[in-house]
């Protein structure tokens, strides 16, 4: 039986509980002048946009700007939204990734990873350093992937979206998504294998 008590926004790619209005309905309410609808939509959707942008860009300030711009476009298109054609989250992911690509094409070199520190107070300093190194490793490896592979891998393995939704976001077939994620994972594995010693996995 579906657990209706869990916070729906914590689960990516899963529909909301039946007793809550969907994104479509909230967007219509916002277009009709309901300010509260904007708050719920922001809570639900903006963290996803931020997460993808952060993983794609590897820079927090840029990722936050992209998320703000993507949400701005959401507010502006609200009156024109046709319910049922696509998921609002799919639309937002697509806009977010397009903004990220535009930003990267304007600025060539990737900045170094800017992934937040772990918040676990119990972790020892050594553990924290190792954690940071691993996250940097993933971010650095991701930044070396070709653009489309990076998008597909982030959406599949970090956002945990189903392949058909990724296909909708990227405007490609499900088979193409599978191919991109497979190649992306192979590339990441190869990149990471080059620096195994730095990551300290053999100690775990």
């Amino acid at each position: 039986m579906e657990d209706l008590t869990s916070a729906p926004q914590d689960v990516r790619g899963v529909d909301y509980a039946a007793n809550e209005p969907g994104d479509d309905a909230l967007l219509r309410q916002f277009a009709n002048g309901d300010a509260a609808a904007a708050r719920v939509l922001t809570d639900r959707l903006a963290p996803r946009s931020l997460s993808v942008a952060l993983r794609f860009l590897g820079n927090r300030a840029e990722a936050e700007d992209v998320t703000q711009e993507a949400m701005m476009r959401l507010w502006q298109m609200a009156p024109d939204w046709v319910p049922g054609q696509a998921k609002v989250s799919t639309w937002l992911y697509r806009v977010t990734l397009n903004l990220c690509v535009d930003l990267r094409r304007k600025k060539t070199p990737d900045r170094l990873a800017d992934v937040p520190e772990p918040e676990d107070e119990e972790a020892s300093a050594a553990d924290r350093l190792q954690d940071a190194a691993r996250k940097d490793a993933l971010q650095t490896a991701l930044s070396q992937l070709p653009e489309r592979q990076r998008q597909a891998v982030v959406l599949r393995h970090i956002e945990e979206l189903p392949n058909p939704e990724i296909a909708g976001i990227m405007g490609i077939s499900v088979e193409a998504v599978e191919s991109l994620t497979a190649r992306g994972k192979r590339s990441l594995t190869a990149i990471l294998a080059g620096r195994r010693d730095e990551l300290g996995y053999d100690d775990d």
Binding site: A46, E64, T67, K135, A193
Partner: protein, 123 residues
């Protein structure tokens, strides 16, 4: 070296990295939430305002260009004054009609007098 084992370990490591990345998914920072909601509010308020400038017909835009109803009133008053002055010029203004017709009138009179004297001579 056992390459098969190494590849499996690397894939496991990658899966571990993905799992950690999923755990680290970010909450929305408060200041970003405020920025986003400020945008939403400005869009919402701009939509609540009647968008007359966009939908205004041509005559309304022309009226606005001429200074609104007040400007239009002034324009009408000035036009009417012009029409009235045309009909009945005040004495302190020269009447252009006099300039145009003055010579013709005197010429006609002179002509008539000439005609009369001529007739008298003939008699």
């Amino acid at each position: 070296m056992n390459w098969g084992m190494t590849m499996t370990e690397d894939k496991d490591n990658l899966d571990l990295l993905f799992a950690q990345a999923r755990q680290d998914r970010q909450e929305l920072p408060d200041d970003l939430a405020v920025r986003i909601l400020t945008d939403a509010e400005s869009v919402r308020l701009s939509r609540l305002q009647p968008d007359e400038p966009k939908a205004a017909p041509r005559w309304a835009r022309l009226l606005t260009g001429l200074g609104g109803w007040q400007g239009m009133g002034g324009l009408v008053a000035a036009s009417m004054a012009g029409v009235w002055i045309g009909f009945s010029a005040p004495e302190f203004l020269p009447d252009p009609a006099n300039y145009i017709y003055a010579e013709d009138v005197s010429f006609v009179v002179a002509d008539l007098s000439l005609d009369t004297s001529f007739l008298e001579d003939a008699e």
